[in-house]
Symmetry: C2
Subunit: 345 residues, 2 copies
């Protein structure tokens, strides 16, 4: 089994539960001001919004020296922390812990076996101490050993009811309204929008079309090995307990080259795990665009960067200016964070 050793995506183990206790908090979202000519009404009229629009206009204007034909308009988006909230823990981990609890009756041995015992008992200290190794065990136990269709059904059911501990709304309602606007704006301008995430493809594909308008085949993520099985005239693809590819850090350009086969011209991320994706996107000929979402808003969402165990943004903050990447401050540049209304079912 290939280990998750390279996955910064998993480095959050130590801090997993620190912020798990729900914090009552007003969402405080100002009402959007309707402006039919404005493609990004939930962005303040500050530099990031202007930069996005200026870039899109120059690459989509026929005759412009920076014109990019429609098929080459590829934009990639990290998911956790870029399109939806990744605090206090990655949503996929919340799913994994819920799955441990939901399937514990089929695994009586978990009552005495770490790290499962810690999950079942809510023993955050022991769970945190189990570190990356423990997390990998939990992921393999909850994400593999079933068919893709079965896993999809499980995720679909869970995501329709699971709520964020602090915001008391569905996780799929803890998506960033300004980023949903960017997705829609780019697609209206002929872009294809892709997710390129450290999360696993199987966890994202069941709901991203409904929530982001991104179809399953435009999701690049961490994958497990699979095998084809035929039984009683029925065919299925079974997820095996072994990692196939980790789509994080240098794995993101690798995933882009493998799944998309075309270098993006726009990339959106929020952490050092996205650094190589932004670098790969912006270090090539022609007009290129990179943007970091900077989590600066403890009131409406969370404030974290250089020292965070989830979504650490350190090197990226240092390098953004010299590389011409935009840093969008959630607090200063976004009119709202989450959609005021529930996302479409």
């Amino acid at each position: 089994m290939r280990r998750f050793a390279a996955a910064g995506w998993l480095c959050a183990a130590g801090m997993l539960f620190v912020a798990l206790l729900p914090t009552p908090h007003a969402e405080g979202q100002p009402k959007p001001i309707p402006n039919p000519g404005d493609p990004l009404p939930h962005w303040n009229d500050t530099a990031p919004k202007k930069a996005i629009i200026a870039f899109v206009e120059k690459v989509t204007k026929e005759g412009s020296p920076d014109f990019v034909p429609v098929p080459e308009r590829v934009a990639v988006f990290d998911n956790d922390g870029t399109l939806w909230c990744e605090q206090p823990i990655y949503v996929q981990f919340a799913f994994a812990f819920d799955r441990v609890k939901a399937t514990a009756d089929k695994h009586p041995e978990w009552k005495e076996k770490q790290p499962f015992k810690a999950v079942l008992e809510g023993d955050h200290k022991t769970l945190a101490e189990s570190g990356e190794k423990g997390l990998v065990e939990i992921l393999l136990a909850t994400h593999t050993g079933m068919t893709i269709d079965e896993f999809e059904e499980t995720v679909t059911k869970w995501i329709r009811t699971a709520q964020h501990p602090r915001f008391k709304r569905l996780y799929t309602e803890c998506v960033y309204e300004p980023m949903l606007e960017v997705l829609r704006y780019l697609r209206a301008k002929g872009f294809k929008t892709f997710i390129v995430s450290g999360g696993t493809t199987d966890f994202m594909r069941p709901w991203v079309e409904r929530v982001y308008g991104i179809p399953p085949e435009q999701v690049v993520g961490t994958t497990f090995k699979t095998k084809y099985v035929v039984k009683d005239g029925k065919s299925s693809v079974v997820i095996e307990p072994a990692v196939d590819m980790i789509d994080d850090k240098a794995g993101k350009p690798v995933g882009i080259a493998k799944f998309i086969g075309r270098r993006p011209i726009m990339a959106f991320g929020n952490s050092d795990g996205d650094f190589e994706m932004l670098e790969y996107t912006t270090t090539s000929k022609g007009a290129r665009f990179g943007l970091y979402v900077h989590h600066t808003d403890a009131e409406r969402e969370y404030a974290y960067d250089r020292k965070s165990h989830v979504g650490k943004l350190d090197k990226g903050l240092d390098e953004a200016a010299k590389r011409g990447w935009i840093v969008a401050s959630m607090k200063a540049d976004w009119k709202s964070v989450f959609p005021a209304k529930k996302s479409p079912k």
Copy 2:
């Protein structure tokens, strides 16, 4: 390095050069009869054409019990022998042999080293004897060790001039006009069309958009491992000399699940290498469609099936009837084989 051991796609080694000598031959394509209401004018009005149209109509008709929403209209196509000619050898092998010749000056050792010596000397017997092991060596030597961008440029240049030995036209003009019609017809009906081929993605992506209208991100194929490299401020993805995934036989459903993430409702193939793809497509709930192109036309193309070393169709022929798969005879069911005019540049 993972070996190509499972690749039926490579089993043609023994017969590789048997049919390499050009055979002068009339193409004998009847002129298409224009009929604006006919989505498949290059198909005869026989059972396969009727089956394709009947299926597409029932799944796209609102209110039909078999209606399939647009996002789920996924159709998969094998490439070699299904969309373009795979005889006398897979086009990708012709490319590989040309690359050995073109880069021989950088590899003086090849003059004395098999199987490269055999390629350089046109020694078909020795090359054939080198078998699968020899072919893998040639593939790795010609398809890896460079950036994806460099490889793309090489393929793009080659494919614009390389000609089929018998038909004396570009390989990209040895595509099947009736199948191009199916691609266009399905897309007009809201389908997404994907290639799922034993050939490598890197070899197909540079030209399939121009020739088939299928973008790079809708190409699933055999892949090599890659790594991300940054040098002098430039970033690239380098192809490494190791196989990542073989997209053939049971590898096709695995590739579909991994890259597309949705079970297709239509599958088109021509060989036993496509069997599992058709099986995976058709053994699930709802309306499903599988079709084999049967190479029965020695005059206009080639006639081969059960005993062929390239594109062997044996088990598939036996199973098609009981599984409800259509077998389209090139000779009986196609008005023409190749497009009368050159494909668009």
